[in-house]
């Protein structure tokens, strides 16, 4: 396979030129990517055709507004797109798209997934209420130089899957010293699209690959250390419930989560609504009851359902009005449940979500063995 193409010059402009070229040559019919709003303080996704490319389109925005996988799911849930459409995604958005494709919430037919080396994102609220111009500058410098993004969301500072590995086309910035970028094909389709694009062919990506491995090791250590110390602060009923105590039960976190795809959520369903009588009984048993109830049930329950596929994108925490560290809680939960199955969400489309498959011989540690004859007269 073609190793890749090096394109020198300003990065965002180069990416847009590449996309416009593909549109002009009719190699793709449309592009789905974020564009800045008129007010200049946020972004939204747009599906753009040849003559409809917005000047404000931004392949790598400094914030994550709607999680890209949700947008792709809206687009293809009821069937594939008919013509080739390129989608620009952060690495975590790309991984969520792969998770959703596994559970048939995304149809990948005709989609060209493009991802890039992501330096992180600012908290949405901080961006909207801050000084977007200044933050744009900071972000763009970090994107080019691939340095640490100061003020990034917590979950971004411990991201260990920061490159677009696996996408049809990977936009490689790490190792490029800010002088340009590589277009690295990850599939046959990606290779075809890069064919004929102006740039210099590379047959050696060692600089980039070494830099990625190095950073991966650093970030993995940082992630584990930070999650370990975070865990200490949330262990046990007292700590955990204190951490969740500001939650207002709005369920925003699950609504914006790309992995929480169910159209009818158990936690919003009638199954959890009960008569006053029943609630009073619960209050009696507990000596009082926080209302609305089922706070812990919602968070832990959601974890049992989807933490295996949590891609640590942080959309949940961006959407939380009450400053609950939701994405850290889910990053911690995900790390530990995924480890049981050596599963990594979004790594490969061929890796089934652990809840959907099983092995005959496994997980003996989670069964309680019947070792002794426990007979005795009661």
């Amino acid at each position: 396979m073609n190793k890749g193409l090096w394109i020198e010059g300003p990065i965002k402009k180069g990416i847009l030129d590449f996309l416009n070229g593909l549109l002009a040559d009719q190699k793709i019919k449309a592009v789905l990517m974020p564009a800045k709003n008129k007010g200049g303080d946020s972004y939204a996704w747009f599906l753009m055709e040849k003559n409809g490319m917005l000047d404000s389109a931004d392949p790598a925005p400094p914030v994550m507004t709607t999680q890209g996988a949700n947008v792709v799911s809206y687009l293809t849930k009821k069937g594939p797109v008919w013509e080739k459409t390129a989608v620009l995604l952060r690495p975590c958005e790309y991984r969520a798209v792969i998770e959703l494709a596994k559970i048939k919430q995304v149809d990948l037919t005709n989609l060209v997934l493009i991802s890039f080396d992501c330096p992180g994102a600012f908290p949405l609220e901080k961006y909207i209420n801050g000084d977007p111009k200044k933050l744009d500058e900071i972000f763009d410098t970090c994107l080019e130089k691939q340095t640490e993004l100061e003020g990034a969301r917590n979950v971004c500072t411990i991201c260990h899957r920061f490159s677009g590995t696996g996408a049809d086309i990977e936009i490689g910035l790490i190792g490029g010293k800010g002088e340009g970028f590589w277009l690295v094909p990850g599939s046959r389709q990606g290779e075809e699209l890069i064919e004929g694009v102006a740039g210099s062919k590379t047959d050696n990506l060692d600089v980039r690959e070494n830099a990625i491995s190095e950073r991966t090791i650093l970030q993995e250590t940082k992630r584990n250390n930070m999650l370990d110390s975070f865990q200490e602060t949330v262990m046990g009923p007292e700590n955990l419930l204190n951490t969740l105590s500001s939650c207002i039960n709005c369920h925003n976190c699950s609504r914006v989560c790309p992995i929480c795809f169910c159209r009818e959520c158990y936690f919003d369903s009638k199954a959890l609504s009960s008569e006053a009588d029943n609630i009073l009984q619960r209050a009696q048993r507990k000596g009082g009851l926080r209302l609305p109830p089922d706070l812990l049930l919602f968070h832990l329950g959601r974890m049992t359902h989807m933490s295996l596929s949590c891609v640590s994108c942080g959309a949940c925490e961006d959407a939380c009005p009450a400053d609950v560290p939701v994405s850290m809680l889910f990053a911690l939960a995900g790390r530990n449940t995924q480890a049981v199955f050596e599963y990594e969400p979004g790594r490969s489309q061929d890796e089934a979500v652990p809840h959907t498959v099983f092995k005959f011989e496994e997980l003996k540690d989670f069964e309680t063995p019947y070792i002794k004859e426990y007979s005795k007269e009661q």
């Binding site: 812990l296 005959f360 426990y374």
Partner: protein, 143 residues
Amino acid sequence: MDEKKEFTPSIIYGLCSWCGTGGSETAGAMHLQYAENIRPFRVPCTGAIDPVYILRALIEGADGFAVSGCHPGDCHFDSGNYRARRRTAVLKSLLDTFGLDSERVWLRWVGHGEGKRFADTVNEFNDHIKEMGGNPLAKRRDT
């Protein structure tokens, strides 16, 4: 010690309607005695027990939750018990992650004819939970 003896835990026992329930019937037919504070929760298959049911029981007052159903290979619906085992693994890992006593949840297969194994499991789990003491979540108002 005396105090612990007096403590009667509230225990829910999730049983599939084939082997799990069958085991309890066999225990009955064999006139085996087992702890009476067990509340059976009958489901079509262990694979139908969403971890959320277990969580809900533990949060709302249960001190322990055991799950029993057909041995691997014997599931009436072919693979429900393998799925139950995966869900239990996820649930127990989460309880461990947040320091919430994963040992309050047990998964142990019990076949239709295994009355003794059923009665033993009930008694062993009951003693085990007595030993652990009351579930702190059950008494918290801020759940």
